[in-house]
Symmetry: C2
Subunit: 325 residues, 2 copies
């Protein structure tokens, strides 16, 4: 293949959002694990067929946006006004091109719109009414808000209207099994890295609130010279600490992917008491999946002929990709 | 003073936006220099009276938002639809608290609203209609769009409707003397750093376009452990390279403020062909004011009893603060 990079082994990681550690039924656990494996499969298929990291992460995230199990697309949370406002971002580590949308309403696939911001405009980010205007120009069908929120989340929002309660629940072990934000990172055979992320927000957030997900360097970053990161958790904490650029900077200085990720999450906990998780790929194919110690997060790594996956702290299952892809 | 930091000498830097190098009349030069000195004076007064870096940068930026010479507040540029959408951000280097607004309309002082997002909500960023809803709740008077755009910029926007032309003009020497984004960084006597930035966008941008200014790590960053940075120029380039965190990371590794800033701007030029400028303060009071080599930028540094200022590359004037503050 005509490329300055020697051919490398493709890798793809997906996560389905970090949330509080709660006792959920085996049915829900299985549903979440199936969800991340389905998404990973779609992305890894792109890589195995010689496709780009960029197309792979988009494919993976689109599958999760379709799955109401996850807080993105069809599983979004209503704002304090009962509306649904979604954010998404995608980044190409070869060109550093970024596409991002925030506070967009009534579409199924915010990540697809973010990709179009990257490909079809001179901008990196469109928000609010302007983002919806662009979606209309790009031919996105209007989707009723009802299709983007599960009835249980709407009921939940009616009963709990205070955002601070939602954050407290999100940050502490409790009844709520709400998981926040989905994401994927990938390394393709040509040595390109990319990430994609999509979110349906935090319950009862103020209208117009934007968290880390659509913000470059906060919700994720990708650079072929180093690697790719994407995050999930308490968005404001990731913003204050710009965790993805922090992780990649440590990696650039020679710290391992795992140590750089641990260091950044420890730093975030110490400095702003933040919680959440990250998935990281180095340009050499090293991977890390990490959460702060009070989080659980469904994840899956596709590499070679293996898929590894898990949801609880320290847990890891393994299967073969032959059955997965 | 009860503080863990030994008392340090306060510093404040302001800039009035990087723009293409053009021949402008001495009257315009004087007006821009007077504008940054007036803004710096307001911020430095806060520092000299024992106020915080956070209050100082806000005071400086508010003065520039009032001055139609600058592209922020009353000097904003219309979008492709003739509307005015403004962005602003402020950050406190002691707590890493961030307040940001994007795509907000019909208010005089976006930086004041950004500060309220920081002080009065659990969020870091509000955008679009949600940001305006919050402004209304906070008692901001509604300002007609006409008060936020100079007639010459409205005429210019009617004659030149293509955003790509606006960017080309912005990035290359030409007739247009449009300068982009205002900002300030400060170090107070207690060793706290902060930055603030505010912008009225780029002419003919798509509705909903958000550049680097309101994005933490892209338009600026402040951390008491290292220093504070804010940027101006082609927003998309600053976003792709997350320049402020890049500069602060180099400084954390022991690189001087000047060298870290030069390195980041050179990197941005090489990697994404980006242009613009930065103002930087280290926790020890070192300062840097830098532009890529095809830019001019009005700036002023207030430190001790001196004010230094300039607008053209390599140029520096000096006065005494006694006459300035």
């Amino acid at each position: 293949m005509a490329s300055s990079h020697p051919e490398v082994e493709p890798v793809l990681i997906v996560h389905g959002g970090a949330g509080p550690i709660v006792k959920i039924s085996q049915t829900r656990v299985d549903s979440k694990l199936k969800g991340v494996k389905d998404a990973g499969k779609a992305g890894y298929k792109v890589l195995c067929e010689g496709g780009s990291a960029l197309d792979a992460v988009q494919a993976a995230v689109m599958v999760m946006e379709e799955n109401p199990e996850f807080n993105a697309g069809r599983g979004s949370r209503p704002t304090a006004l009962g509306d649904v406002e979604m954010d998404a971002m995608i980044m190409d580590g070869s060109s550093l091109q970024v596409g991002s949308v925030a506070c967009v309403k009534n579409i199924h696939h915010p990540i697809e719109l973010a990709r179009m911001v990257m490909d079809k405009t001179d901008h990196c980010m469109l928000v609010g009414v302007g983002a919806n205007l662009f979606a209309r120009q790009m031919g996105f069908p209007l989707v009723p808000t009802e299709e983007l929120v599960r009835e249980e989340h709407r009921k939940d929002a009616r009963e709990h209207t205070k955002y601070t309660d939602a954050v407290t629940e999100l940050l502490n072990p409790g009844k709520d099994d709400s998981h926040d934000t989905v994401g994927a990172v990938a390394l393709d055979a040509q040595g390109n890295v990319a990430f994609a992320t999509s979110t349906g927000g935090i319950r009862s957030q103020l209208p117009g609130r934007v968290g880390d997900s659509p913000l470059v360097g906060c919700g994720g970053y990708a650079d072929n010279d180093i690697g790719a990161v994407t995050c999930t958790g308490h968005g404001e904490s990731f913003m204050k600490c710009t965790i993805p650029t922090r992780i990649l900077n440590k990696m650039e200085q020679g710290v391992s992917v795992a140590d750089a990720t641990d260091e950044a999450l420890t730093y975030m906990k110490r400095r702003v008491n933040g919680t959440g998780g990250c998935i990281v790929i180095g340009r050499d194919g090293q991977t890390a999946v990490k959460c702060t110690d009070n989080r659980m997060m469904p994840w899956a790594i596709f590499q070679g002929d293996k898929v590894k996956f898990g949801i609880n702290q320290g847990e890891q299952f393994e299967g073969t990709c032959i059955s997965q892809v």
